[in-house]
Amino acid sequence: MQSGFDRRRINGPEESFPPIFHDSDSEDNAPPPKKLPRKGRSPKDIRPIFLQPGLINQSNGSAYIETEKTKIACAVYGPRQSKNTAYSEHGRLNVEVKFAPFSCHRRKQPLRDAEDRSVAVAIHQALVSSVRLELFPKSTIDVFINIIEADGLEGCIASASVATSAALADAGIDLFGLVVSCSAAVVGDEIWLDPTEEEVQSSNGTMVLSTLPALNTMTSIWQNGRLSPSQVLEGIGICDEKCKDIHSIVAQAVRDHAVQQI
């Protein structure tokens, strides 16, 4: 019983019950019947993006991103000297992801678990080839991502990659280009962009595509579930198109912030 007890934290009561709401929200929680168009948007629509670089003062660079119910803060520290590692010609990019305890429907333990790591690896993959690590010998760039609210893991990875790339640019770290990511889910025969948690649950499979639109290259594809090759190729094409739209939003946000600072 006491195994989960942590003296250093404020521990909640031993027993707890979810609140019961008597409003229209509870009807929304029922999974949407399949073959129905998505709630309030067309398959190729993404949720509106709000991106603000430079919110965390202490850090070298930072960014906050919000897409409806996904809220992520990201901070970049460094380049700082690598400790406890062998000599390396290239710098290292260290990505850590934390979910806030209240970020998901079920309360999360404030400990790092396998899910945090897999999200961190996906984001690292998306970003590592965009950073000019050869310019930072013996150094480490630390990225800390705090997921304040999550609505769909795929959307989280995509948004966090975008925010981190903006934060790296804000931190004055040499990049080949800004990384832009887009997620998609295959529901029935359709491909839905930027799926929510509910939509992911009713889908056959999901994918996250990360690109460098400035160089017209991809940095990573992360695929989950059952997808046919033709669906994957179609998904890549649609995501790539959308990434170009998102890139203009990100570029505008980064540029505005840089102009403001001068």
Partner: protein, 186 residues
């Protein structure tokens, strides 16, 4: 401020007609196109094209660094680097540098005693000579303008340099040994 001249990472830099400039910081070449890798305005300095960075960056060979002496041993002095090329590093993100006996001064290298050149807490100006090993950067003070720039005496007063290897305490008048940097503007 001309907003159009602001470049973002990956954005091609359009060059005026003429000879292709050398690439400095903040720009790179890929498939024949010169692109920015930092947020900023590209500038031509002589024949190099650079985007200057205002943020702190790690030491590189030929960087001038400022740091305080943290540990002494008969063979080397450890320095905690806090300023690189005039840009202060954020607190807690110092780099560790090493001044070996052979790098303290240019002459009589074999007769250098580290304890006669540095003391703990001294602020030292040095030049990074190499990336060193996994733990530290190698720093040299073998130049007139390099060495101890600020030191406190045993009595606790800020000392003033009297020669390139001595400093005097204004309180007690005692002379202590240091490898002094030549004060600027002398």
């Amino acid at each position: 401020m001309a907003e159009d001249s602001f470049h973002l990472p990956g954005q091609p830099v359009i060059l005026p007609k003429g000879p292709v400039p050398q690439l400095g910081d903040g720009v790179y070449q890929r498939e024949g196109t010169i692109r920015a890798s930092l947020v900023g305005i590209p500038r031509h300095e002589a024949s190099t094209l650079t985007i200057s960075r205002l943020r702190p960056h790690p030491p590189a060979p030929n960087s001038i660094v400022l740091g305080s002496v943290t540990r002494l041993s008969p063979l080397q002095a450890l320095v905690s680097i806090s300023v690189v090329d005039g840009v202060p590093l954020p607190p807690g993100e110092e780099f560790i540098g090493v001044i070996r006996t052979q790098d303290v001064r240019a002459t009589e290298k074999d007769r250098v005693k580290i304890s006669d050149c540095f003391r703990g807490g001294d602020v030292v100006k040095g030049l990074v000579i190499s990336l060193g090993d996994a733990r530290s950067y190698y720093i040299t003070t073998a130049r007139n303008d390099l060495g101890v720039t600020f030191a406190t005496s045993e009595a606790g007063a800020t000392m003033e340099p009297v020669s390139w290897q001595e400093m005097r305490c204004p309180k007690t008048g005692r002379i202590e040994k240091r490898k002094c940097a030549k004060p600027e503007g002398l």
